[in-house]
């Protein structure tokens, strides 16, 4: 998918952290903002942001999803990109807002915002053409590409484009890498047995790579796979890609 809506590097962008990053992975958000600013892009963080509405949308509660999504629409009045450090939430805004707002009075606004949404790694690669110099010690990382990045947005390879620039990072792929990790939002609660079976298998393939760290562009997957490995007392540190990039390239 061609995510490009601006061809020139914008002076400023909105940053939409997502509720998961807000509460559980703030360092991923901070790192993403640092990376953007280092590229000379000023970052606006609307403090009134909460959640994109995806959990309700995927559970069939469309009225509730709409109420929450509507509260986000007003946060991005300027015609500048909206950067989201999660393919899942970016997919919600980019792909599903148009469906959610169809026929609503604010449909035009929703379409406008959807058109400006970028998943973080896609923005760093496609728009900023970010160059990185690795300052870190040698490390091996196993990559989990989220389903939203891989299939919904078609930006699964951007993470690799970034990682490959880090010469001390060995990139490993788990077996059956395209398989979903089994999170699926409320799926994990509604069908816990299937979710657990999928997650265990994913955790096992991730572990089998022998990598030192797990990296993904989506914190939902990290929370799921990482949580499973912890439960099995075989924890592997999980990191959002932004955090890894910032940690290894900051001066």
């Amino acid at each position: 998918m061609n995510n490009r809506v601006v061809s020139e590097k914008p002076q400023a962008v909105y940053f939409y952290g997502t509720c998961l990053v807000d509460l559980f992975y703030p360092q991923a958000g901070i790192s993403a903002i640092e990376l953007l600013r280092r590229e000379g892009v000023s970052v606006i963080y609307p403090q009134s942001q909460t959640c994109c509405g995806q959990p309700a949308w995927n559970s069939g509660y469309r009225d509730e999803a709409l109420a929450v999504a509507r509260a986000q629409l007003a946060l991005f009045p300027r015609p500048i990109p909206v950067i989201i450090p999660s393919a899942s939430c970016a997919g919600m805004m980019k792909v599903h807002y148009p469906a959610l707002f169809r026929g609503q009075s604010d449909e035009a606004t929703a379409l406008n915002v959807a058109g400006r949404v970028y998943e973080l790694t896609a923005f760093l690669v496609d728009v900023l053409d970010m160059r990185l110099t690795d300052l870190g010690d040698p490390v091996s990382v196993v990559v989990h590409t989220s389903c939203s990045a891989r299939r919904e947005l078609g930006v699964g390879d951007k993470l690799h484009t970034l990682l490959r620039q880090l010469r001390n990072v060995e990139i490993l792929e788990p077996e059956n890498s395209a398989e979903c990790c089994g999170f699926g939002g409320t799926f994990a609660i509604k069908q816990p047995e299937i979710s657990a079976a999928m997650t265990r298998e994913k955790a096992a393939t991730v572990r089998a790579t022998g990598a030192q760290r797990l990296v993904s562009q989506d914190c939902g997957c990290l929370m799921n796979i990482g949580g499973a490995m912890e439960k099995q007392n075989q924890a592997m540190p999980g990191q959002h890609i932004a955090e890894l990039l910032w940690e290894r390239t900051k001066k």
């Binding site: 909105y14 952290g17 509720c19 807000d22 509460l23 559980f24 992975y25 703030p26 360092q27 958000g29 901070i30 000023s42 970052v43 963080y45 609307p46 403090q47 009134s48 909460t50 959640c51 309700a56 949308w57 559970s59 069939g60 509660y61 469309r62 509730e64 109420a67 929450v68 509507r70 509260a71 946060l75 469906a99 389903c147 299939r151 919904e152 395209a178 398989e179 979903c180 089994g182 699926g184 799926f187 994990a188 609660i189 509604k190 069908q191 816990p192 047995e193 299937i194 979710s195 657990a196 079976a197 999928m198 997650t199 265990r200 929370m223 799921n224 949580g227 499973a228 912890e230 439960k231």
Partner: protein
Amino acid sequence: MTTDFRSNVAQALKQDAVQTHFRTVVDRLRAHRQAALAGDAAFEQLRNRCAAIRADAIRRLPQLLEQFESKAQRNGIQVHWAETTLQANRIVLDIMQRHRATFLVKGKSMVSEEMGVNAFLQSHGIDCLETDLGEFIVQLAGEKPAHIIVPAIHKNRREIAHLMHGHFSELPYSEDIETLAQSARHFMRDKFHAASVGLTGVNFMVAETGTLCLVENEGNGRMCSTVPPVHIAVTGIEKVIARLDDLPPLLNLLTRSATGQPITAYVNMINSPRRPDDKDGPDEVHLILLDNGRSRIAGDPELLKTLHCIRCGACINHCPVYRQIGGHAYGTVIPGPIGAILEPQKQGLDAATGELPQASTLCGACAEVCPVRIPIPAIINRLRWESVRKNQQSQNSRPVVPGAGSRRRPLEAAIWKIWAWCCSHPGIYNRLTKLATRLRNRLPAGMGAWTVARKAPKPARSTLHESLRTMDIDHE
């Protein structure tokens, strides 16, 4: 809440050996498809074309069905219509009785499974013999197919060897696949020879020529449709396509998507019963067109895409949920993602199968491989909404999906309402998230379903909102 589906799933996940075998076979099917598509630059265009062919056929369904019917009748094929599976079964029974047939040889047909024709005829003293090797194995085991293309996918050769030996004690026990298949051939030949009626499914009906197209590898479909004096074909009304020219691209995608074959061993195009000069072929060819909810599904512009399906099974092979739980856990004729959207629409969201739209992580693998681009995740999302939507005001308009709203639970609905209120009031949201960070070390370690397989996540020391307030950025 423990439901039928969840107890099926629990059962399936307990059988380690079956599950491991399942994964292996599913992975093999995926690899076959992958190999068959590698290097085909025109593949996406082919998909576009096939998606358009199916969309066009469903858009013009009534016209094409009438055109097909008149062509087929002119060719001598007897066309029957059935609104329900019961009607379809009665038509079969009527034909069988008219010919005083005591048993039926069957080619593989998912519509016949949908009809439950075996059990129906059995109750009228007529035996059905499944002749497809996989279906035959499943029938010997007294089970249902676990896959639409590979019915006995859940059985390994040892189980099959025991089954065959158990039923045909004169056969020496063997786990050799070749030997097993030859035993089945030997047993079935006499049946084809003796049968007076054969029944098959249909892959495509061509409106332009009145042709029935059947795709298979074993030759049992040809046997059933060629050797007995009467051939009954059963199919869903959605299987029609407009032109003969539409057939090559669909065949090309169907077989490659299903098993990675460029084409099946046999593509069987039936145009008429035996003609005066012919020396073989059935004297009568009957086609039963089954509705069973399909015309209702065609009434919704989004849901009708469900009817575009050409039953290749690629979505099933690529579904991570199916890969874990197998076909039987779905409790439906058609399992996997396509089953999870089709069966609830047919049977109603209030039926046991109404839970199937929940059996998905929305990972999108199904839509990625669907040769006719059915947006399965979007339809799953739609059905989840239909499941819990508030009852519509007007009582006189029937819901598009039967059982709409039947899965709305007051507690769950209330939780979502509260959640929505919190998330649309940033002040409240921020107070709650901040509270969670302050209680991070005192939150319970057990979080219900989540912590069955995972540790509970721990909130950060402070939220991103809080952390950023101290950073020099614009908060607007």
